[in-house]
């Protein structure tokens, strides 16, 4: 793969410079809130703005550790539990479904695809009340499950629609070879097709995780106890509480982003290999 196409040293440097410029421009907002969080309130409102803190101020971070009523670490853990569970549900259900759609020509397939598309179209205000009533009757109100199940409804159709393309691109011969080796349809699906579509599964997993991770409305509606709510609800409350006190707000934002960034950097190897390893190495 890496030997596919050699590029010259000169080109390499040129590309790298452009890449770094793009990087700087696109990720500037993140840098900006990071330095803002380290400034004093006066320096934040200083004109012209300073591009690094002239007086290092860590009071905004300390204040967050001290203020007792909202525990950031717990809400971060809540978000993790919710997002991972919801991702698992989405993947377990979406992988077979997308395979079924891609590889079999059963009646009503188009309608089912349409059905999956349709489920993504509802504005959040539509789902809140009916789901609330359902979760209450199922005794799931005010538990992680309510939000997990609701968040999975975003990840499933998305994953189905993306993954069906992956499965469709796998040559039929591969599957047939598996039958000759003694697999039936289900074992062939699990042993041969899923490993080949691994990259797609990983990407869908990431997206499903992120949809659940970023959700605000469900977490705030179906969970009433502050100690069970996800981190997005925490930030939203925090904004209501501190309004335009930007040193506090940006510090909170940074603390929310740092763990995400760490997970991401740690996982990056898998994400990138999932994205770029050749589709079919058959």
């Amino acid at each position: 793969m890496d030997e596919d196409k050699k590029i010259s040293r000169k080109q390499n440097i040129g590309y790298c410079i452009v890449a770094l410029l793009l990087f700087a421009v696109l990720l500037f907002p993140l840098y900006w809130i990071f330095v803002t969080s380290l400034k004093t309130e006066q320096e934040i409102f200083q004109i012209p703005p300073t591009f690094w803190p002239h007086i290092l101020n860590d009071a905004s971070y300390k204040a967050q550790l001290q203020s007792g009523d909202f525990n950031m670490f717990r809400s971060f853990a809540n978000s993790l539990i919710i997002a991972i569970s919801s991702m698992l549900i989405a993947i377990v259900l979406a992988v077979p479904a997308s395979y079924g759609i891609a590889k079999y020509n059963f009646k009503g397939k188009k309608a089912i695809i349409l059905g999956f598309l349709v489920t993504q179209m509802l504005p959040v205000s539509v789902l809140l009340t009916p789901l609330f009533i359902m979760f209450k009757n199922m005794h799931l109100y005010n538990t992680f499950w309510s939000t997990i199940l609701a968040d999975a409804t975003i990840g499933i159709p998305f994953s189905v629609l993306i993954l069906k393309n992956y499965f469709a691109s796998i040559p039929r011969e591969l599957e047939e070879a598996a039958y000759i080796d003694g697999c039936n349809r289900f074992t062939a699906f699990i042993r041969v097709l899923i490993p080949i579509a691994k990259q797609g599964v990983i990407v869908c997993g990431i997206f499903s995780f992120l949809y659940a991770w970023g959700d605000l409305a469900y977490g705030m509606t179906f969970i009433i106890d502050q100690e069970k709510r996800p981190i997005t609800a925490g930030i939203f409350n925090f904004m209501g509480q501190y309004g335009t006190k930007w040193s506090y707000l940006t510090a909170f934002a940074v603390v929310t982003i740092i763990p995400v960034a760490l997970i991401f950097i740690f996982m990056q190897k898998y994400i990138i290999s999932g994205m770029t390893s050749g589709a079919v190495k058959g």
Partner: protein, 430 residues
């Protein structure tokens, strides 16, 4: 395409079957709840008869929803709850914080799903809406509110019945930075003209002279209406000489730069933060900010005054009410309420939170020797309530749209007023 349709039909059928199940469940749930409600109402009828005699019989858990994000307020509420729980065996009270931005939604969804707490502490202009929804218990005759200010009591009342008890009140005043006014050589303004003049003189390159929360929501309406009332017009008369005059006045402030336009994105808390950071010379804000300001900036030279007037004094009446949820643990909630509204507990809450008691006698003696609070108590005499009207959210929405249109320059005061009036008339029916 035919196939698609056929499958769609099947899907729809299945869905309607599912729906059928759902609505059956809901109906049976409703029935159950209806019986429960009847039971409760007979019960409450009985307890009204012997209201004063037996209050110790209440038991069970009582959940309270409230929306104060200020830590001091939360601590005060939790303290009286702890004291109450320790004082008796039967009832165990627990408070849950529901963010303000979420409070209305949570109550209205909770109402459709019968998943509500037993007691809520809510913003008084919303009280009538929920009372009309039927989620509050009628507690007429269980609390003596005759010594309370009229405004707060009216906000708990619908069709002559009492659906809540005033928690405490606050009102708006003019806050000013004494040093900045002195620097600009200004006296404290008392009329609109003076306010316009002082605000302009205190405006510098880096800070505006004046701001008040002008969000396009209830908070903004609360801060805007005193200007209308000060002309003698009512909340329902926006397209009147007074209403248009008020809109023109606000427009003048913004257009001249004396008031910052950013205020349409500021909550009252934001406005206070700007003021204590020295980014504002004057602001309109409420009683409840005083404890925070004293704690955060003890050295800042600030003071309060009555809101400058046009033809008459006016201020906005804010505050919360307690309301007992119908069909919940009503007895337990009422028992706690008796405790919470007793003179001593009430006074503790009011003083800690920087609120003015809704009880006139308590209020009169509440802030002896505190000049800042005394001005608020004086201003209370002129504080007007919003509503009470079940459709108040609609009226408020029309008003806040009007002043936002004017402040952003999207509409002339006359056009905005006419549009708002059309909406208001369609709601209030002239």
């Amino acid at each position: 395409m035919k196939k698609v349709l056929a499958t769609l039909m099947t899907t729809a059928l299945t869905a309607s079957l599912l729906m059928g199940c759902g609505s059956n469940a809901a109906t049976s749930g409703n029935n159950g709840e209806a019986t429960e409600e009847t039971a409760v109402s007979t019960e409450s009828a009985e307890s009204t008869e012997s209201a004063s005699a037996e209050t110790g019989s209440a038991s069970g858990d009582v959940t309270i929803w409230y929306y104060w994000e200020t830590e001091g307020h939360q601590a005060a509420l939790n303290k009286i709850i702890d004291d109450y729980n320790a004082s008796q065996e039967g009832v165990k009270v627990e408070a849950k914080y529901v963010p303000f931005a979420d409070f209305k939604k949570q109550l209205s969804i909770g109402a459709s799903a019968d998943e509500l707490p037993d007691l809520v502490i809510l913003d008084n202009p919303d009280h009538a809406s929920y009372a009309a929804m039927g989620i509050f218990a009628d507690i007429t005759g269980k609390f003596d509110v005759s010594n309370y200010y009229d405004g707060p009591v009216n906000s708990c009342t619908l069709d002559g019945k009492l659906y809540g008890v005033p928690f405490g009140s606050n009102c708006l005043c003019l806050f000013y930075n004494e040093d900045m006014l002195k620097e600009a050589g200004c006296e404290v303004p008392t009329t609109w003209d003076e306010l316009q003049d002082v605000a302009a003189k205190c405006t510098t390159d880096t800070r505006p002279g004046l701001a008040f929360c002008s969000l396009q929501n209830e908070e903004g309406t609360f801060n805007f209406l005193p200007w209308v009332w000060s002309t003698g017009s009512t909340s329902y008369e926006i397209n009147s000489d007074g209403g248009i005059k008020a809109l023109n006045f606000v427009k003048g402030l913004v257009d001249s730069g004396a008031m910052t336009k950013e205020a349409i994105n500021w909550t009252q808390g934001d406005t206070m933060n700007q003021f204590i950071s020295g980014n504002l010379a004057m602001m309109i804000n409420g009683t409840w900010q005083v404890p925070t300001m004293r704690e955060e900036v003890p050295d800042l030279n600030w003071n309060v005054a009555m809101i400058p007037q046009d033809t008459q004094q006016a201020s906005g009446l804010g505050g919360e009410n307690y309301a007992v949820i119908a069909g919940g643990n009503e007895d337990g909630a009422i028992d706690f309420l008796k405790y919470a509204t007793s003179d001593e507990t009430c006074l503790y809450m009011m003083n800690t939170m920087g609120y003015i008691s809704a009880d006139k006698t308590l209020a009169a003696g509440q802030f002896d020797g505190d000049p800042v609070y005394q001005i608020f108590v004086d201003e209370m005499e002129y504080a007007q309530a919003r509503g009470p009207l079940p459709e108040w959210p609609d009226v408020s929405d029309a008003i806040s749209l009007a002043f936002n249109e004017v402040m952003t320059g999207g509409s002339t005061p006359e056009d905005a007023a006419a549009k708002a009036q059309a909406t208001i008339d369609s709601i209030v029916g002239q």
